[in-house]
């Protein structure tokens, strides 16, 4: 029981670099201002537990995005009336998200075309 979570982590796919940032941006676009825990839960729900992220890894990414100006943060009150840091998409972040999304879709389209290739297509 004790070692189970770690095993689980190994079996599930590693989060590709940059993907986590994109997920955070998309989450913030949908939900509006939300705290770190909220973002973590949302990503877990959407990915359907297929993707296991140590929730802590979120925070360095949040800091980087904030330094890049894609998101901003301020203190607010959480559901249990504690102080929590709320993150919000900035105008630059919105643009970044759009650009990233477009790129991601392009990559996806190209890759899916490759996967659909059959031997006879190359003749």
């Amino acid at each position: 029981m004790k070692e189970k979570p770690e095993e689980k982590t190994e079996m599930k796919s590693d989060v590709q670099q940059g993907t986590l940032a994109l997920m955070i941006l998309k989450t913030l676009e949908v939900l509006g201002p939300v705290h770190g825990y909220g973002i973590a839960r949302r990503i877990e729900q959407i990915s359907g537990e297929l993707l296991a992220v140590n929730q802590g890894t979120l925070y360095p990414v949040l800091l980087r995005l904030e330094q890049e100006g894609a998101i901003s943060s301020k203190w607010g009150a959480s559901e249990n009336n504690r102080r929590a840091r709320f993150y919000q998409l900035t105008r630059a972040g919105r643009k970044l998200l759009q650009a990233e999304t477009r790129e991601w879709k392009q990559t996806e389209a190209i890759l899916s075309r490759f996967f659909e290739l059959k031997p006879e297509d190359l003749r």
């Binding site: 802590g56 800091l63 559901e79």
Partner: protein, 888 residues
């Protein structure tokens, strides 16, 4: 420094603390929320919190990552290094002070010399697009016409026929004028005749008015002048209505048409013209005199120097044969050269500056070697510390960075002090420097020089860190930590590095010392050349009589007699005399022959001899011996037989077969309608008029009473300090003519010292640097030897226990010191033989390989190394075998 550091730390700490606090709070909140959710899912409290923590992951590694994002890791380590370096430096204040001072001297000397080099050799001239300005000139090597110049008919030909210049301007030499009639006292000012387009070729806009037009730039044209900003301010108080007013120069009126901007600077032969007149060169015909001009031209875009040279050569081939017969047969062999105006103006200081630049470069290298050496010694002492650090997980890279940080900190501190040294050094340099160039180029420590100082500091830091870092890479740090205090492994490579550094210090110091020795010896020889007269306690001054009031010989002679009568009786004057030129200046020349011999060919240079008119007491005043015959006396008047005194060189040239010259006749202006016979009555010793480095020239003297002049030099031999008589002299001149300015007032000693000013500057600067190098090399040897002694205390103890005497110990230590010195001296001599060739053009009567200089320098260095060994050797001899061995 401490205050700054603490401020910075506080700032950084608070920033980090705030961020860490924020993160901690976020983490706590996050886990809280997850725990509550787990509780709601029915998990027991303890398990709920554990699962929440598990889900969050490793907090510390996340925090590391978080900090890395914040870029504080690198900065943190750097700050830690700097803090640690500060602590290390503070722990050994002696080392720190020596190191910082060493580097400060090195960097300061470099900054000062660099700022001069930058201004003189690297910065553009203060004219528009100065890179296109060139100085074309001709040399007539087969004639006795020395130097480079352009005869004005050639300038006309170039101006009218060239295809390569967008403008070509000409300057005449700088003349002196007496400025009168503006209410204030009369004054001598420098003026220069320039072609009408001179200012436009340089790209200078006048501050007021206009430049000359072509009407004014022709013989007989309107008399006009352009004023420099300086004379406009000093003489006319910056009067805005200056244009159209007149200026009186040598009792001639010139109408002022323009004023130059304050920023305009032009200097030739060390003189800065204060007023400009139109060139108005004479038309070219057979009877006109030839003017020797300086030419400044602006290359058309895209034209190279080679193309310009080809174009001018072509013009020369037609124009040179048209020169008057004066240039005779020599027109075939004429050297044309075109250099950039910048090269022309700075050519004479290029070699001395490169020598100084090289000298200070050596100083900095020696300083770096010293720091490296000191670091190495300490590095070995600190081997345990480094061993411990590496055992605790520091990588080699981290240790190397620590060393680099320490030397960097040292060199930056050294650089800061060095800039102060540089400011001080530059003001010292400026007071020594030949003044000519400083008129045009402004020399000061500016942003470029500061950038250079910073670059030099950083480089010094890296260079001094190299050796210690190298030794680190080879050392076995594990051994270091295991070793006891006594057996610190002074690895073989370390010893080699240290010796190498000390050897190169000695070698560099030797090169500098040889250079300084050669310059010093040459300077001593130069200044010990007797000028041929006694220059001590002689006051000199000059007067120029305005021609319109003193046009006849009688008027000029009367003035001389009156002046002599007044100044001879001044209290404190032992002898007073007048002459047409000062004995350190070249006199005017006259073509002459000997009666009864064929008239010399027109272009025979040996027939042209310097000629001066002097008053009776001239030889007595300057203590020039009369070798045979008699001096001048009251009997030599305007109506008696014309007489002359010649010098020994004259006799050697004109009477080479030992004939007696007394009683023979010289024909002045031989072959012309003015030919006059003059009887030789005496022979005097020669004086060196062309400077101490030159041979004395033949010379003829005539009595002032028989050949008066408007150009008068006053010579007063005084009983004591000659300058005390200055105001009395001035009063006597003004009492005769209140419009006459007295100029070039000086003592004869100062005039002669001025001739060797450049050499004095080079010698003292290089000498100073060599002394510095000697000191630094001494410190270097001392450091190495005393380190070696401390390392060998144990060995020496054993040897003494086995019966070695103090003398043996001394021999061991001195042998090490002499090995370093000897190797350094041999390498240094090799380097000096190559490098001192640079000096050849600066040396007088001495070759760059002068053996006695080399021997003396070698002896100095050996003595220095023995002295540097002395203190450590004494320590070694006092080693008590019992104590030394007890550490075992």
């Amino acid at each position: 420094m401490k205050f700054l550091k603490s401020c910075f730390n506080r700032l950084r700490n608070s920033a980090i603390r705030r961020r860490e606090e924020r993160l901690n709070e976020e983490i706590a909140g996050h886990i809280e929320l997850q725990t509550e959710e787990n509780l709601r899912a029915g998990i027991p409290p303890a398990e709920a919190r554990r699962q929440a923590l598990l889900k969050f992951g490793a907090v510390e590694s996340m925090k590391e990552e978080y900090r890395a994002v914040h870029h504080f890791v690198f900065l943190d380590a750097l700050l830690q290094d700097i803090r640690f370096a500060f602590r290390m430096l503070r722990k050994s204040p002696g080392f720190t002070a020596v190191a910082i001072l060493t580097l400060a001297l090195g960097i300061g000397a470099n900054t000062a010399i660099f700022s001069v080099t930058d201004a003189v050799l690297l910065k553009p001239l203060p004219y528009k697009n100065p890179a296109r300005l060139v100085w074309p000139t001709l040399q007539f090597p087969k004639t006795d016409l020395h130097g480079s110049f352009v005869p004005h008919p050639i300038y006309f030909a170039w101006r009218d026929q060239n295809h390569v210049f967008s403008g070509i301007a000409a300057t005449h030499f700088v003349q002196e004028f007496t400025l009168t009639g503006t209410g204030a006292f009369p004054e001598r000012i420098a003026g220069m005749r320039v072609s009408a387009n001179f200012f436009s070729v340089l790209g200078i806009e006048l501050a007021r008015g206009r430049s000359f037009n072509s009407q004014e730039d022709r013989p007989g044209g309107p008399q006009v002048a352009v004023l420099s900003y300086g004379i406009w301010q000093s003489r006319y108080a910056g009067n805005p209505e200056i244009l159209g007013r007149t200026i009186m120069l040598d009792d001639k009126e010139y109408s002022i048409v323009g004023v130059l901007p304050a920023s305009f600077k032009f200097s030739t032969l060390g003189m800065q013209p204060q007023v400009y007149l139109p060139l108005a060169a004479p038309a070219v015909n057979a009877s006109s005199p030839i003017w020797f001009l300086g030419v400044i031209a602006r290359l058309k875009p895209g034209v190279t120097l080679a193309q310009a040279e080809a174009d001018l050569s072509l013009i020369d081939s037609h124009a040179l044969p048209l020169l008057p017969k004066f240039f005779g047969d020599y027109t075939q062999k004429v050297d044309l050269s075109i250099v950039s105006l910048h090269d022309h103006l700075t050519g004479s200081v290029r070699t001395p500056l490169s020598v100084l630049m090289a000298a200070v470069g050596f100083i900095l290298l020696i300083a770096c070697a010293n720091i490296a050496n000191l670091q190495l010694s300490r590095g070995t002492v600190r081997a345990r510390e480094f061993g411990l650090r590496s055992a605790l997980g520091a990588t080699r890279f981290r240790l190397a960075r620590q060393l680099l940080t320490e030397t960097m900190l040292l060199s930056v501190l050294g650089g800061l002090v060095g800039v102060i040294v540089g400011f001080w050094g530059l003001s010292l340099l400026r007071s020594f420097m030949p003044s000519g160039l400083l008129n045009v180029l402004s020399v000061h420590i500016d942003a470029v020089a500061l950038a250079f100082a910073i670059a030099a500091s950083v480089m010094a830091g890296v260079i001094s860190a190299l050796a210690p870092m190298l030794s680190l890479s080879g050392a076995n740090l594990n051994d270091a930590i295991q070793a006891g205090r006594i057996q610190i492994p002074g690895s073989r490579k370390n010893a080699f590095l240290r010796n190498l550094l000390a050897v190169s210090e000695v070698a560099a110091a030797l090169i500098l010392l040889v250079a300084a020795g050669l310059l010093l010896k040459s300077f001593v020889r130069l200044t010990s050349v007797s000028p041929g007269f006694d220059p001590h306690n002689v006051l000199t001054a000059r007067i120029s009589l305005p021609y319109n009031r003193y046009s006849t010989d009688a008027q000029q002679a009367a003035f001389s007699v009156q002046l002599l009568g007044r100044i001879s009786v001044l209290p404190g004057v032992l002898a007073a005399s007048l002459s047409t030129s000062l004995p350190n200046m070249l006199s005017s020349e006259m073509r002459m022959g000997i009666e009864g011999r064929p008239v010399p060919a027109y272009n025979d240079p040996t027939a042209t001899v310097p000629l001066d008119s002097v008053s009776d007491a001239y030889f007595r005043t300057l203590k020039i011996p009369i070798l045979s015959g008699r001096g001048f006396d009251d009997g030599d008047g305007p109506n008696t037989e014309k007489v002359a005194i010649v010098n020994r060189e004259f006799v050697q040239r004109f009477f080479p077969r030992g004939e007696n010259p007394i009683g023979r006749h010289i024909l002045m202006a031989v072959g012309t309608s003015d030919q006059t016979p003059v009887s030789i009555v005496g022979v005097c010793a020669a004086i060196r008029r062309a400077g101490p480095g030159e041979k004395p020239l033949p010379q003829v003297f005539q009595p002032l009473a028989q050949s008066p002049s408007t150009e008068i030099s006053i010579l007063l031999r005084t009983a004591s300090n000659p300058t005390a008589l200055l105001s009395a002299l001035r009063l006597q001149v003004l009492a005769i003519d209140k419009e006459l300015p007295l100029f070039d007032v000086s003592t004869m000693d100062d005039l002669l010292a001025g001739e060797t000013r450049g050499q004095r500057f080079e010698t003292s600067a290089v000498g100073l640097f060599a002394a510095l190098a000697l000191l630094l090399a001494g410190v270097g040897i001392y450091g190495v030897i005393s380190y070696l002694v401390s390392q060998r205390t144990h060995e020496i103890g054993v040897r003494m226990a086995l019966g070695a005497q103090r003398g043996d110990v001394l021999r061991i230590v001195v042998r090490d010191g002499l090995f370093i010195a000897g190797t350094g001296i041999i390498i240094g001599i090799g380097g000096a033989l190559v490098l001192t060739r640079l000096l050849r053009s600066l040396l007088f009567q001495i070759t760059p390989t002068d053996p006695s200089t080399y021997s003396v320098v070698a002896i100095i260095l050996v003595t220095l190394s023995l002295a540097a060994c002395w203190i450590p050797a004494r320590r070694a001899m006092r080693v008590d075998p019992l104590i030394a061995l007890r550490y075992e």
